[in-house]
């Protein structure tokens, strides 16, 4: 477990998502990276039914994410950024909140058509782990996310420059500065929750972009 940075990779006009992914895969294989299985980060969103939750009149949203890198854990994030790391059983607890019972309407319900995930190939090259994921929202392709992890280090500032070089060769200038989610903690120990928050940030951007015209193919 080291420092992870996640960046979106732009899909240029006239190219399909698959073409870009193929190109990136060829590029990392040229670097000498070896395939090491698949990866998946997924996210489901639940929202409160404010009329049913007496204590909080405003609507609450909670995102539940999984990362195949930590298969026995479940990450839950509220709108304020409070992130709970727990056993997978948390989903059973969540189902108690979404269940209507004995005349009581459910406290929470799942947002339909909001399931978003990044899925793709995992590579290893030296001390780096590279993941190239296609993002799909309700099974529709929305974009590409590149995750790079530098394993030997847990402090972002101490390895950012090295990671920047690798990242820029893949996603270009958007990797000029560290991911915004990590800006407030350049010198503290990196945790798996930080990875989840980066993914959620990107997922939220993709969801917002749905109303805008979809990326060209």
């Amino acid at each position: 477990m080291g420092v992870v940075c996640v960046f979106a990779c732009p899909v240029p006009e006239g190219k399909s998502g698959q073409q870009v992914v193929d190109g990136l895969q060829k590029q990392v294989e040229m670097m000498g990276a070896t395939k090491s299985g698949n990866f998946l980060v997924d996210c489901e969103t639940y929202q409160s039914n404010p009329q049913n939750v007496t204590q909080t009149p405003q609507q609450c949203v909670v995102n539940i994410l999984h990362n195949s890198e930590h298969p026995a854990s479940c990450f839950s994030v509220t709108e304020s950024g409070q992130i709970l790391v727990s056993d997978l059983l948390f989903e059973d607890l969540m189902s108690k909140l979404t269940m209507a019972k004995a005349g009581r309407e459910s406290f929470y319900s799942q947002r339909k058509g909001f399931k978003i995930e990044s899925r793709g190939q995992r590579y290893e090259v030296g001390d780096f782990i590279i993941k190239i994921g296609s993002v799909s929202l309700a099974s529709n392709f929305r974009g590409i996310l590149i995750e790079v992890e530098y394993c030997p280090c847990v402090i972002l500032n101490e390895c950012w420059n090295m990671m920047k070089e690798l990242l820029q060769s893949m996603v270009g200038n958007s990797a000029e500065t560290p991911p915004p989610v990590l800006k407030h903690k350049p010198d503290t120990v990196y945790t798996p929750s930080d990875t989840i928050l980066q993914y959620l940030d990107h997922f939220n951007n993709f969801r917002k972009a749905v109303s805008a015209p979809p990326p060209s193919r």
Partner: protein, 214 residues
């Protein structure tokens, strides 16, 4: 192991059914009980394992039905990094042939911010308490002997601010497993027999106790 396989295994057989029996032992017989349990249980050659937990009981309420949904946050006062969020279903008494009570039981280990987290979900704390005691295991059976303390200052779990609610210790015998494994009930019944007449572990109907409160 393939990550997706781990997730599948977790989902295929969720251990969310608890078979249990309850009883109590008076303070003067605690030592006898602990000695007997030491002899009966698996961890006989070690010092018995003890625990000190702080439990916060959270309610989420609904306008349509006043009965709240209850989640319990528990954390160890000894190993302070251990937190868990628990849900306990209503205990089913079932028919006479069923040897134990059965309830749905979800005990989910979490990070330490769980209280704030479920606070943001709309839960409010109803009450809190401290529980101290011993636990034993025999095979997949777990036996806890616990004493409950009222907290006189909110949030303060130190010994000089808490007081017992009852001099007796609660004794619980339980097995958490997947649903439908009724056979464990017979093992538990046999074990409970061995504690008689020191402690009588029974199917106590929770509805009667709750009714007596109102």
């Amino acid at each position: 192991m393939d990550p997706s396989m781990v997730q599948q295994t977790f989902k295929a057989a969720p251990l969310t059914t608890e078979f249990f029996l309850q009883g109590s032992v008076m303070e003067n017989s605690l030592e006898t009980l602990v000695n007997r349990l030491k002899g009966l249980c698996d961890n006989a050659d070690y010092q018995q394992e003890s625990f000190q937990d702080h439990e916060m009981v959270f309610h989420i309420k609904n306008t349509s039905v006043p009965t709240p949904l209850v989640f319990r946050v528990r954390h160890s006062l000894v190993q302070t990094e251990c937190w868990s969020l628990r849900y306990l279903g209503h205990a089913e008494v079932g028919d006479k042939n069923r040897p134990t009570l059965v309830r749905s039981y979800i005990d989910c280990p979490t990070s330490e911010n769980v209280a704030q987290f479920i606070g943001e979900l709309g839960f409010r704390m109803d009450h809190e308490f401290v529980v101290k005691g011993f636990y034993f295991h025999k095979g997949r059976m777990k036996i806890t002997v616990s004493k409950f303390y009222k907290m006189n200052q909110p949030g303060n779990t130190t010994n000089d601010t808490i007081e017992t609610v009852c001099p007796s210790y609660l004794v619980e015998l339980s097995v958490v497993t997947s649903s439908g494994q009724e056979a464990v009930g017979d093992d538990m019944k046999n074990f409970a027999e061995q504690l008689k007449p020191l402690v009588t572990l029974e199917k106590t109907d929770h509805r009667k106790i709750q009714l007596a409160q109102t």
